[in-house]
Amino acid sequence: MTMRLNVEHRTHYTYNAPVPYGLQQVRLRPKSRPGQLVETWDIEVLGGQVEVAFEDEHANSVDLVSFTPGQSEIEIICRGTVTTEDRAGVVGPQGGFVPLWLFQRSTDLTKPGDGTAALVAATTRQDDDLSTLHALSALVLSRIPYSTDQAAPDLTAEDVITLGHGVCQDHAHVFITAARAMGFPARYVSGYLMMNDRVDQDASHAWAEVHVPSLGWVGFDVSNGISPDARYIRVATGLDYRGAAPISGLRYGLAGEAMSVSLQVQQQ
């Protein structure tokens, strides 16, 4: 089954004072790969300009955007069409130069602690890795139900376990941390999901991928309790949110920031 998805994703930052200098690293260019064909994709920046574009170590396409000096707003607009295919979440073998052991490293956001240990202990080991990981995914969701209360971008996996609920990003962090503790290479994925019942999506989506010897990378969307299908567009991967964040920036001055996102994903 394939789908042809149109995306329009606007991220709008406003500041309560002019920003003298600022930079944003933008990881918002999906790439063609087995199961995902990017037909068109454009990034437009209002109030800034693209300084350079490069591929990072995870082969993410990155744009470095600078603020036009003295602006008090900047908007990054992505528009594109992507054809996707349902491959039951299987992404395939690790390509490029990144050694698999790197995906077993813990990061500040994915440092295992007692909460992770308890999750791992409570996960029933199945005969095959895939079933074990699905069991882990279900366990994470049952212990940490989806809730947008207190959503914050910088919660660690252990914070989320203590809090007892979370959003897709939190689920991905907890799942990655536990999968690594079980010995699997695991990574964070940011991307888009077309929710069936609506055109306007709340926000961009996040899930996890785990490397299993027989299949390579396999996706797990803990929040929705499934492996990604044709409704998912993979945009960037990293060891955690910070490595795959759609936009991460730095700016001079003391201006306060407000952000709004509008995202439409619809089937053509």
Binding site: L64, F97, W101, L102, L250
Partner: protein, 481 residues
């Protein structure tokens, strides 16, 4: 014959002037002929003159961890360390081989990691190495050079025995002392240089400029613009940063002088922003770019790693080269040289016990009084134990640290470092030395300045030559053929 008061009985260590105490070796003959007609009092006066000169120029450094830290002068001894052209040629050949291997190794580690696939280096050596930067994976710097400026530390134990102590592929310092030491000697003893033909070192700044320019990125248009990035005046090596910039006609900049402009890293000038092609940075990796590394860094340039990865600037040395300075990696250098060059290493490695290995650890703990123990990420003589020179109490304290975190340490036998005489009130007296030659790597050649910086332990019997631990320096001569 030199007045080698108190030197004749030296037989335990190889003395570079007198061998095993049998009178001047060939490279020192002309110097000794000059020296015997000199008056010790006049030379001691010259010594003070040299110190005044250094103070005037401002060649100073700071010692970390010293609560009374003020700028200090590194003591200079005016008896040169002398090598024959033939001795040097062999050393230089060995260094060149090693530096070639280092660059190939760094490329490999950040690409296919063939050396790990081949089973010649355990993956943990990289996985546990703090200096390994994932952001460099897949990145080929302009000209495929990772370590542009290398300071291979050597020690000598005999007529034909040299060991590499450290590779210093990250940021070797001290080249300003090499240049100032020679300048001072030429100034004080012009007649000596007409009697003894010494290969010059003064071309170093020009060579550095040429070598860095040869690594300019594709984005460079016309003659490359070079700059030296310093953490600022509070850095212990600030003098050297300013000196190098001045000597090679490059700008001396701090992080806040630079920003990303039109896809390049550019410096603020009175006529607007000017793009930098090659940045010789003396800022550590972690502080280089708050957008990619330590977000709290005020010393770096936000976005420079992005411009670098897009091919808009050359960073020398490349980020992530520090993996090669890890002392556990050092212990694999003979394999690394052989793997990438297909030849046996010309220069020897000091046999190294990796304390992460339980058998090695047992041996080290049983023999602490005879060994030198170092932190794998350490440098500058900080945090090390010199067993033979340490008290029982110091050894006991170190034992506790070692047992708590064995993977953090390596141990080596205490080498019988060669000595070279220094001038004391009582005449010449032998002191232990090492040597840091300075190596420049560009795509078309590897250039090694003849000689380098000789560091000397001024305390009698001491084997620690670091300036932070009471070491001094000497001019280093490689004779013309």
């Amino acid at each position: 014959m030199c007045r080698l008061d108190g030197m004749a009985k030296q037989t335990q260590f190889f003395d570079e002037m007198t061998g095993r105490g049998n009178g001047p070796r060939a490279p020192y003959e002309d110097y000794c002929a000059w020296f015997k007609n000199e008056d010790t009092a006049r030379l001691l006066a010259k010594s003070e003159e040299a110190e005044a000169l250094f103070r005037l120029i401002g060649v100073t450094f700071n010692v970390y961890g010293d609560p009374d830290a003020t700028e200090r002068l590194i003591p200079f001894d005016l008896v040169p360390r002398i090598m024959a052209a033939r001795e040097w040629a062999k050393v230089a050949k060995g260094i060149e081989q090693r530096v070639r291997a280092l660059n190939a190794f760094l490329h490999d580690i950040y690409h296919r990691q063939e050396i790990i696939r081949a089973g010649r280096l355990p993956a943990e050596m990289i996985a546990r190495n703090d200096a390994f930067l994932p952001q460099m994976i897949g990145m080929t710097p302009p000209g495929d050079i990772y370590t542009h400026i290398v300071g291979t530390d050597l020690v000598r134990t005999g007529d034909d025995e040299f060991y590499v102590l450290e590779d210093n592929a990250r940021t070797p310092s001290g080249v300003s002392y090499m240049l100032e030491n020679r300048e001072t000697m030429l100034h004080m003893f012009p007649e000596l240089f007409s009697k003894v033909k010494v290969q010059p070192v003064s071309q170093y700044p020009r060579s550095l400029r040429r070598s860095l320019s040869a690594c300019a990125p594709n984005a460079c248009e016309g003659r490359p613009t070079l700059a030296v990035l310093t953490p600022g005046i509070h850095n212990s090596a600030y003098y050297e940063h300013a000196f190098i910039a001045d000597q090679m006609s490059a700008e001396l900049v701090e992080g806040h002088d630079l920003r990303v402009v039109d896809g390049r890293v550019a410096m603020r000038t009175t006529r607007g922003y000017k793009p930098i092609d090659v940045l010789y940075r003396r800022v550590d990796d972690d502080f280089l770019d708050p957008l990619t590394f330590n977000p709290d860094s005020m010393l770096g340039v936000p976005g420079i790693m992005d411009v670098y990865r897009a091919g808009g600037v050359t960073i020398a040395n490349a980020p992530g080269t520090g993996i090669a300075d890890d002392k556990a990696i050092y212990s694999y250098m003979p394999d690394i040289v052989e793997f990438y060059t297909g030849e046996k290493a010309i220069l020897q490695n000091v046999p190294t016990h990796r304390c992460s290995d339980s058998e090695a650890l047992k041996y080290v703990l049983d023999n602490l009084a005879d060994l030198v123990v170092k932190e794998v990420h350490g440098s500058g003589g900080y945090g090390m134990l010199v067993g033979p020179a340490a008290s029982k109490k110091e050894i006991a304290a170190f034992r506790a640290k070692l047992e708590a975190n064995p993977g953090n340490y390596i141990a080596q036998p205490t080498l019988a470092l060669s000595t070279v005489p220094i001038l004391t009130e009582a005449g010449l007296a032998p002191r232990h030395v090492d040597l840091r030659p300075f190596v420049l790597v560009s795509p078309d050649r590897i250039e090694i300045t003849p000689g380098g910086l000789t560091r000397v332990a001024l305390t009698e019997g001491s084997l620690v030559v670091n300036s932070s631990q009471g070491g001094g320096t000497k001019d280093t001569w490689v004779l013309e053929e």
